[in-house]
C-alpha cells in the first residue's frame, strides 16, 4: 500500500515539474508558438499555390496535403498497420459466426429515429470524406463517422439485422477493395512515367493528376485517396464492431478455445 502512495507522489512531482518546464520553454520554443517553424511555413505556403505549380499540392487544406502528399508513404504504412490490426482481430475471432437471427431490437420510436438519422450520418460521413481536400476532415475521419451508422443499426435493430445486410466476408471484401484502390492510385504514376505517390507535376517528372475536374478543385490524387481510405476504414471498423459486439456466449466459447476444455 505504501508503494502506491510513493507512485502517486512521484507522478504528481513529475507532472508539476514537467508542466512548469514546458510552460517556460524547455522544448526550445515557448507555448504557444509566436511564429511558424520553417518546415511548417513551407507546408502552409505550398499547400495551395497555383503560382508555383511544380511544388504545390493544389489543396487548400494543409493537413490533408501533408497526410496524402508531402508524407504520403507514411500514411500508406499507417493504413497497412491498421489493416494488420484488423486482420489480427479477425484471426482471433475466427471461430465466431455473427448470428443471422434477427432480434427484436429497441422500441418502435428508437427504431424510427435510427432509420431517419442513419442516412443523415452517412451523408455527413460522405461530405467529410469527399471534401477532405477542401475542408477539415478526410478519409479516415469520414470512414470512422460512417462506421457509427453500423453501431447505431446494431444497437437499435439487432446484430442479425446488420449481418443480413453486410456479412463478415462482404465487409472484409469492401475493406480490401479500398486498400487496392489506394495502392492503384499510388502505383498509376510510376506506370505512366512518374514517381510513386506523385500528385502534381514536379521539375523532374511531368506526370500529374488533374487538379480540376469539370471546373471543381479535386487536388489531383487527394480526392481518390480520401474516397478509398474512407471505404476501407468504414468497412474495417464495421467489421471490428460486428465481431467485438457478438453475443457473450458465442465469444466466450470461441475465446476459451481447446486448451480450456482439456483442463
Amino acid at each position: 500500500m505504501a508503494s502506491r502512495y510513493l507512485i502517486a507522489v512521484s507522478i504528481a512531482l513529475v507532472v508539476v515539474s514537467l508542466s512548469f518546464a514546458v510552460a517556460y520553454g524547455a522544448l526550445g520554443a515557448s507555448v504557444p508558438l509566436e511564429g511558424l517553424r520553417s518546415l511548417a511555413r513551407a507546408y502552409v505556403t505550398l499547400a495551395y499555390a497555383p503560382w508555383n505549380r511544380t511544388l504545390t499540392v493544389m489543396s487548400p487544406e494543409a493537413v490533408t496535403s501533408i497526410v496524402w502528399d508531402f508524407r504520403g508513404v507514411d500514411t500508406f504504412f499507417e493504413t497497412a498497420v491498421l489493416f494488420g490490426a484488423i486482420i489480427g482481430t479477425v484471426t482471433l475471432f475466427r471461430g465466431i459466426k455473427p448470428s443471422a437471427r434477427i432480434g427484436e431490437g429497441l422500441s418502435a420510436i428508437a427504431r424510427s429515429a435510427a432509420a431517419v438519422t442513419a442516412p443523415m450520418i452517412l451523408a455527413v460521413a460522405a461530405a467529410i470524406a469527399l471534401h477532405g481536400h477542401l475542408t477539415p476532415g478526410g478519409g479516415f475521419q469520414g470512414g470512422a463517422t460512417a462506421a457509427v451508422v453500423a453501431l447505431v443499426i446494431l444497437v437499435t435493430f439487432s446484430l442479425g439485422y446488420l449481418v443480413s445486410g453486410l456479412s463478415k466476408e462482404r465487409a472484409l471484401m469492401l475493406r480490401s477493395a479500398g486498400l487496392l484502390g489506394i495502392a492503384a492510385v499510388a502505383l498509376i504514376p510510376p506506370i505512366l512515367g512518374g514517381i510513386v505517390f506523385q500528385n502534381q507535376a514536379k521539375e523532374l517528372s511531368q506526370f500529374s493528376y488533374p487538379a480540376y475536374i469539370g471546373g471543381a478543385l479535386t487536388s489531383g490524387s487527394l480526392l481518390f485517396y480520401n474516397l478509398f481510405e474512407s471505404l476501407a476504414v468504414a468497412a474495417g471498423l464495421t467489421l471490428t464492431i460486428m465481431l467485438l459486439l457478438s453475443p457473450h456466449e458465442v465469444v466466450e466459447e470461441a475465446v476459451r478455445g481447446e486448451d480450456h476444455e482439456r483442463i
Binding site: R4, I11, P32, L82, A85
Partner: protein, 125 residues
C-alpha cells in the same frame, strides 16, 4: 479577463500533464489488465492533445485551411499543420496497438482464466 497566453501556460499545460499523470498512475498501479488498457488510452490521447497544443500559435491561431485571403496573411496566422497530421497518424496507430493489446489480454484470459496481474504473477508453468 484573463490573458489567453497566461491561461495556456498555466492551466492548460498543467491540466494536460495532470491527465497524463492519471493515465500513467493507472498503468503502473492498477492491478487489473483492463484498467491498465483504459489508462493507456487516456495517456495516449493526452499526449496527442499535448502535440496539438505545441502546434498552436498566438497571436494568430486560425486553422491551416486556405480560404482565399492574401497568402502572406494566411501564412502569418495559420497554426502549424504538422502536429495535426502526425496526431492523425498517431490516433490510427494507437487504435491498432490497442487492438493488439486487447488481443494479448484475451489470450491471457484464455490461458490463465484471469486478468488480475497479481494472480498471473504467482502462476507457474
Amino acid at each position: 479577463m484573463i490573458d489567453i497566453e497566461v491561461f495556456i501556460k498555466t492551466f492548460i499545460v498543467l491540466a494536460l500533464f495532470g491527465t497524463a499523470g492519471v493515465g500513467l498512475y493507472g498503468v503502473v498501479a492498477k492491478p487489473h489488465a483492463t484498467k491498465k488498457i483504459i489508462s493507456l488510452t487516456i495517456l495516449g490521447d493526452t499526449v496527442n492533445a499535448l502535440a496539438i497544443l505545441l502546434g498552436y500559435r498566438y497571436p494568430g491561431g486560425i486553422p491551416p485551411v486556405y480560404t482565399g485571403q492574401p497568402p502572406n496573411e494566411f501564412v502569418g496566422r495559420a497554426v502549424d499543420p504538422l502536429p495535426q497530421a502526425l496526431v492523425l497518424t498517431a490516433i490510427v496507430i494507437g487504435m491498432a496497438v490497442n487492438l493488439l493489446i486487447i488481443y494479448i489480454a484475451l489470450q491471457t484470459y484464455r490461458l490463465y482464466g484471469t486478468l488480475d496481474t497479481r494472480l498471473i504473477k504467482k502462476l507457474r508453468g
